[in-house]
Symmetry: C2
Subunit: 341 residues, 2 copies
Amino acid sequence: MLSDRKKKILCAVVDSYIESATPVASKDIQAEYLPDCSSATIRNELSTLESMGYLIQPHVSAGRIPSEKAFRFYVNELMYENNLSAQEAELIEKYLNRKIGSLEDVMTAITHIIAEITNYTSVVVKEDMSDTITAIKLLDLSNGKLLVVIVTDSRVLKDGMVDLPDDFDEQMIARAQHWLNKIFCGKHVSEFINFDYPFALVNEEFSQYNALFKKIIDVLKKVSLMNGMDVEMYGENQTLAHSEYSKVEDARKFLAQMENKERIAEILTNDGGADGSMTVKIGADENAPEGCAVVTTRVSLGENVSGSIGVIGPVRMNYRKVLAVLDKISDIIIDLVGKGE
Amino acid sequence: MLSDRKKKILCAVVDSYIESATPVASKDIQAEYLPDCSSATIRNELSTLESMGYLIQPHVSAGRIPSEKAFRFYVNELMYENNLSAQEAELIEKYLNRKIGSLEDVMTAITHIIAEITNYTSVVVKEDMSDTITAIKLLDLSNGKLLVVIVTDSRVLKDGMVDLPDDFDEQMIARAQHWLNKIFCGKHVSEFINFDYPFALVNEEFSQYNALFKKIIDVLKKVSLMNGMDVEMYGENQTLAHSEYSKVEDARKFLAQMENKERIAEILTNDGGADGSMTVKIGADENAPEGCAVVTTRVSLGENVSGSIGVIGPVRMNYRKVLAVLDKISDIIIDLVGKGE
DNA sequence: ATTTAGCAGTCGAAGGCAAAGAGTGCTAAC
DNA sequence: GTTAGCACTCTTTGCCTTCGACTGCTAAAT
């Protein structure tokens, strides 16, 4: 547990670093946040905070910068709420109310307005789970691989590949296919996504198939997940404006990660969450892109259609502002969808 | 008219510069392209080529780099044909034949394979003009602005704004609306795009409306053009790998231009062209993004649906390779669409 | 009239060096 | 526990020099 003063100092470092992007010195903290202590005292505290893993000193004659752990702590406990300025709130409302077009247009509008206001990259993911599964086909490719194809009422979904154990023959595959169809046909893809393999449910005869089934179902999950998805991204450029990307190699690394839309979509959606819920992922340890933080909120867009709105930026992100913006947007969307029904 | 030797030298400079991205020295040319002349002779030629506007000398102790004019000349007259390597051709075929899915999937696949093989940014634009116009509405916003809305059988199209001359009253607007509907309702959006305002056709009574009508029609064109469009882009990151973007500011400038999808779509489509036609735009003067060149080919994707496939890279682009790749892709697409019908 | 060799001249790139500045950690006193 | 003071470290900046790359020009050769 951190003392109040340590918290205050840590918060000062994070706030200052978010704003300036430069290491924070003890004197700065004294001048701007804690005039009641001497800089020496603050240095002592900084030193212990560093040994606790919250701070990092780039080199001996530099101030401190917050570690990812510090940002996590900041988001969890230190950060105070922020309200958007009236004119920003108005700008958002104006921008989104003007768009009365299709869902795609609204998605695009959302990414644009978020990127513009926050100066980070914005992503919107739409997951449409309203398709019904018509058939599941297993095709032995006779090279030890099994091709899994899902057919839905609206179209053929992508396929996926699975390794086939050696001792599987044609008949066993047919049996597996039959079993999968029995369970899933006629159901919504949405039910698929959260399906847990019911080992208990499978009777004696099938128990030997367990490993294979598990793999197949993982493929099915992934494949069906990606397929109803629509990913819209905007503002890679704004994120690159921040000083962490002043070296081209770093900028390119960031962009390369942003190009992998499937990965991004997964990051925005993989931890469900109710309408209006807010998630913050900081750094690669929490499954955000390397060096990045991702803030996500979820909104429902109708029956079996859900959306995730996310902001991606450097770990040194202005969390207060981003959370406030997403909050505002999410309110508007919920309102907008509500009216439409 | 350039002498043969000047052409040879110019070609050498461009080829070498495309490959190395560094200014080309007289000695290099002598060594690799023209062993029969001395470097002094080549220097003389280079000097006159520079005064003719084909070459640029970054500073006095550097070699020459080609100007945009030189690249244009190179593409028009100097460049020799290039064939893809067998394995590249095979890679493309393999990659595209594997994709039997929706048109969207194919578009995505095309952008990915092009970006991968050429190492530039790739764009595919689909223009669907099969919608029929149901109604055109003019709404007086009573602030001197007129809102133009087009409705089609499949959805509401975006709106556009037009300044209204002072002396226009309600009745005149109604009359204009009536006229527009009479001409355009029931027609395909495609007919819209190439519509020229028929001043002659308009009778005496309407002649005073000419300016307004012209403006409205421009809006309608633009609005309807953008609406049936689907733009897919991939590989911004590959383009950034080239040395012209080694400064972050330049990289960001490029990305900012790429973010304007409407502009890009317009560049790829604004000069029509028949199936399989190939266009090369070099530099801002030819309406490409600043510092960039755009190579485009057109393919038909069905009745009233046409596609443009483009590659965007620095002016110092490997035109030979890009043209060869687009040629190959275009062949495959034409073949693929032909089969489908 | 063209081509060539040779050379002086220009400019950028790279490296070394010293001075300046920023912050800290430590010590000793409060 | 807090603070003042100071020595110490390390980066940043600017400056200078050297090195190397090419050219343009001149004068001779073809």
